[in-house]
Symmetry: none
Subunit: 199 residues, 2 copies
DNA sequence: GTCTTATGAATGAATG
DNA sequence: CATTCATTCATAAGAC
């Protein structure tokens, strides 16, 4: 039920409630159970982010494109066109089109390509990454090569779900919210990756 | 097969691919069947988490002792410390009843209400979040007890956290705190004040 | 038939 | 806002 209220609000344009709004919402929701302000806050944060991603259909039905996997010039225009950061950028990365690449090749190409992102956060936590060359395969279950294209056991691992998403009815959103055009100064943007737009 | 690719990548160090990596991987995997970016994303999330959890289950020499022949079945940390937690009545927060104001009303009231930033005391304002009174315990099992008016399905959407910590194997890394220096800087006035007042 | 496990999906909770 | 982690739900596949 609480969900209903929250969704309703969200739908109505309250995507990022201000603190006062959060307080109100919270107190209203408390009728249905105990809720703290932070719950509401997080809910909106997450919901907004995830909704937005969802909108960016996963797919990329791109297949025939071409281009070496490497390059990877990551040309995001995340520049400071300051004032507005429309993160909406979509990577139009054309992929290579070699169809029958062996999977090892696939792997290597992927590995070489990126890796550049979030390095920063890596250090704080994952310094201890296993040596990439780790030949340790704990229990590498050596599957006998069923080289036909599917692993029997995990077969068809991603069941096609194709839940259609709704459209936009987008927002003129909260007139209320912060806006406040913060002096962001120069956003000397780092290469900020917009995480999934997959959902 | 897709699994092979994914496992390979994972093994090679790609534990949490960035979006661009995910896209690449996805498009590569699509040769074998339809896959969406989110599938890949989820795969890595889950795989990583589960790998780690398994690993985590190592140092526990703990009491696996003789008694439990059952062995490793799910003892887990679900920690129903059920034993105690007497669930005091005082937390009788559920003054619910008759509070069935229609949720639409709630919504409208919230929408109309806010917007008033009342700048004055904003910055120092601190919400008096009362500590949820430790109320209800999550009782994992025995869910049937829903006499409550909650809708089973949407239910307690915000499960009260507050869980006591687990036992620690690697515990406190607290000692590192030395260089905090957050330099919060007084940016005076901003509306966007820390939402962290909720925490 | 039920129980158990593996795993995709989802989401709350942080942190930067 | 982006990213990440921890939990939890649902369900298919096997085991019993």
């Amino acid at each position: 039920m609480q969900l209903r209220v929250l969704e309703e609000l969200f739908r109505k344009g309250t995507e990022t409630p201000s603190t006062s709004q959060i307080q109100k919402i919270t107190s209203q929701l408390r009728r249905y159970g105990n809720v703290e302000g932070k719950n509401v806050f997080y809910w909106f944060q997450n919901h907004k982010a995830r909704e937005r991603r969802k909108r960016r259909r996963a797919g990329n039905i791109e297949e025939s494109a071409s281009s070496s996997a490497q390059g990877l010039s990551k040309a995001k225009e995340t520049n400071c066109s300051c004032g507005e950061l429309t993160e909406d950028q979509e990577s139009e990365r054309k992929d290579n089109e070699r169809r029958n690449m062996d999977y090892l090749q696939i792997i290597s190409s992927i590995n070489t390509a990126a890796t550049t992102s979030s390095v920063a956060s890596k250090i704080t936590q994952k310094i201890i990454q296993l040596p990439s060359s780790s030949s340790i395969s704990p229990q590498l279950n050596c599957k006998e090569n069923e080289d036909d294209n599917e692993d029997p056991r995990t077969l068809e691992l991603f069941p096609l779900n194709k839940k259609d998403d709704v459209g936009e009815e987008d927002n003129n959103k909260g007139l209320i919210s912060l806006s406040e055009s913060k002096s962001k100064k120069f956003c000397a943007n780092e290469e900020e990756v917009s995480y999934h737009q997959f959902f």
